[in-house]
């Protein structure tokens, strides 16, 4: 084809690799996510707690300020409990980001029935989902493990004592806790968005899935007097997991604490259900039934 001749011209140039096509999906998904100002506003708001925690680390480590304001005492302890607060704050902000971004990545294409055209190109269902997942994971990384590890690094830099090597398990816990959480959020967000045509409903559903089972779990725990009801209570379950990963003091009674293996099993189960939901939905949508 050429514009001035208006004639068809076959393409004889080079082709990109299959992995590069996965990159195309990621790139367009990221562009879609960041085409909204709301996304930028949410990211900015998500950075405010990071600044507060950063100031906290600065105050805890600056000898001049400790002398002048805190009179030599350390009012803020930079320990696993401090980083647990950072992680919890950022992870719940990531949920808000997911509720906004995930429906944008999928709902438009599902609502406009774009999958038959998209998947008639040399990409598979798996590549399509992986591309969307990667884009969402990258967005959520910006508010979870990236700022958490930056704060950890700053604490290591600002601390007068050799701190980093003695507390590497905190960095590992921050990374593992964030990655587990945002992987779950990404899959959950995509799965729910693929089943719900309207973005607003999908956004609501993401919050609902997170908090309605928590209420049910609370009832089970209260009525049956068992700790296993917490396995439906995502906030409690994740808090316990993060405490274990960071080696932070437990906030619940010992008889209410869940084993790490059971928490991981529930998370894996949820991820599995999300993958099945995505597969079922996208498989059903990839062809126009004749």
């Amino acid at each position: 084809m050429s514009i001035y001749k208006h004639e068809y011209r076959a393409y004889a140039g080079r082709l990109t690799s299959p992995w590069a096509r996965l990159g195309v999906i990621v790139r367009y998904a990221l562009a879609e996510a960041w085409s909204s100002r709301v996304t930028a506003v949410l990211l900015t708001l998500s950075m405010l707690p990071v600044i507060v925690y950063l100031v906290g680390i600065y105050l805890a480590n600056n000898p001049m300020i400790r002398m002048l304001i805190m009179r030599g005492k350390s009012m803020i302890e930079i320990d696993p409990a401090y980083f647990l607060k950072v992680l919890q704050t950022q992870c719940w902000l990531a949920l808000v980001m997911t509720a906004w971004i995930a429906p944008r990545l999928v709902s438009f294409e599902i609502a406009d029935n774009a999958l038959p055209i998209l998947l008639s190109h040399p990409i598979s269902r798996f590549s399509y989902v992986l591309g969307k997942f990667t884009a969402l994971f990258a967005c959520l990384s910006l508010v979870t493990w990236v700022p958490c590890l930056l704060l950890f690094a700053y604490q290591g830099y600002a601390s007068p004592r050799p701190w980093i090597f003695a507390n590497l398990h905190i960095a590992g816990g921050l990374l593992a806790g964030s990655v587990l959480w945002i992987a779950l959020l990404s899959l959950l967000g995509l799965a729910l968005s693929s089943w719900l045509k309207w973005r607003v409903v999908a956004t609501g559903a993401i919050f609902a899935v997170m908090f309605i089972p928590a209420g049910v779990g609370g009832i089970i725990t209260g009525v049956l007097r068992t700790k296993w009801g917490f396995l439906l209570n995502m906030p409690v379950m994740m808090s316990q997991l993060w405490q274990q990963l960071l080696d932070a003091p437990q906030t619940m009674r010992a008889d209410r604490q869940l084993p790490g293996a059971s928490i991981l099993t529930v998370l894996l189960l949820m991820c599995g259900i999300c993958v099945l939901m995505l597969n079922a939905r996208i498989r059903a949508r990839e062809v126009v039934r004749g």
Binding site: P18, D112, G290
Partner: protein, 303 residues
């Protein structure tokens, strides 16, 4: 091919090699299922399907690389501009970003959407949406273009434009076309060959051009009097003749027999010819004959 416990395509064996092939059949004949099978969306429950000599399941990605597909229903990303949507599809087909952008512009101008390429797709009219589906199917320079009901829902002007574009593509010659439609006129105007499906089986296949070249003279008569005697006489002269109730007669006559000869025979047999209509064999006739005939079972077809 079985879908939902129902056999949709059955005993379909053949090879299509033509430049522009029409896929005809009534609703539910299996046209879209055949297309989806060729694109690798459906796994044949028995046998195999091959495109460019490649297995549709094993070499799905390589096949899709060389195929441009325009689905029947609305299928686009509404909140993207036309040029961005076509570029995205071209990049997914394997074109580098720069090339994809260039060809997206070209494809949109080629199909006649150049002036509206920066508008969001969800603001397009139905005709424009059909054209942008065609543009995205063309942008990566496919070897085979599969179009499922390309004129679906178009007004006469938009339909004419689509037909002209398809004719131009066929004339250019570097792309093979497979066009599925239940509109005989569309297939007649855009294809050289036609494969007719009925109940998931091949009902007929023919080279439209060849059929046109070898067209026979069809004559329909309305007559009064002894039609059987008239038919008998014509059969003895080498005509094919069938008489129906109400004095209707259908004839296939050799070139050497003219209208005057028919009047002579009618006069000799005491029959009055009240009306005579001469017409050529059309795609509609081919289609109707195919619909009346029992579909072929597992017959090897070549086009």
């Amino acid at each position: 091919m079985r879908l939902g416990g129902r056999t949709v395509l059955n005993g379909l064996t053949g090879e299509l090699r033509g430049k522009a092939i029409g896929l005809l059949g009534p609703n539910g004949a299996g046209k879209s299922t055949l297309i989806n099978t060729l694109l690798g969306f459906h796994v044949p429950s028995q046998g195999s399907a091959r495109v460019f000599g490649l297995d549709t399941q094993r070499d799905r990605a390589r096949i899709r690389q060389g195929v441009g597909y325009m689905p029947e229903n609305d299928s686009f990303i509404g909140n993207m501009t036309g040029v961005r949507f076509v570029r995205y599809m071209a990049e997914l087909a394997g074109l580098p970003a720069g090339e994809a952008l260039e060809r997206a512009h070209e494809a949109l101008f080629y199909v006649g959407l150049g002036e509206v390429r920066y508008r969001k797709v969800n603001t397009y009219s139905l005709g424009m949406k059909q054209l942008i589906k065609l543009a995205q199917a063309l942008a990566h320079g496919p070897r085979l273009l599969i179009l499922d009901e390309p004129t679906n829902g178009l007004d006469p002007l938009a339909r004419q434009r689509m037909i002209q574009t398809l004719q131009a593509i066929r004339k250019e010659g570097s792309i093979q076309l497979l066009i599925s439609s239940h509109l005989l006129r569309d297939i007649d105007q855009t294809c050289d060959e036609v494969l007719i499906l009925k109940d998931g089986r091949i009902a007929a296949l023919c080279d439209i051009e060849q059929e046109r070249r070898s067209q026979r003279n069809f004559i329909e008569l309305e007559a009064a009097g002894p039609t059987e005697a008239f038919c008998e006489t014509l059969r003895s002269l080498g005509c094919e003749c069938a008489s129906f109730a109400g004095g209707r007669i259908k004839l296939v006559v050799p070139d050497r027999i003219g209208s005057r000869d028919l009047y002579v025979v009618a006069s000799q047999t005491g029959m009055q010819i009240r009306r005579m209509q001469r017409r050529r064999d059309s795609l509609e006739d081919i289609f109707m004959r195919a619909m009346e005939a029992e579909p072929a079972r597992g017959e090897l077809v070549h086009l």
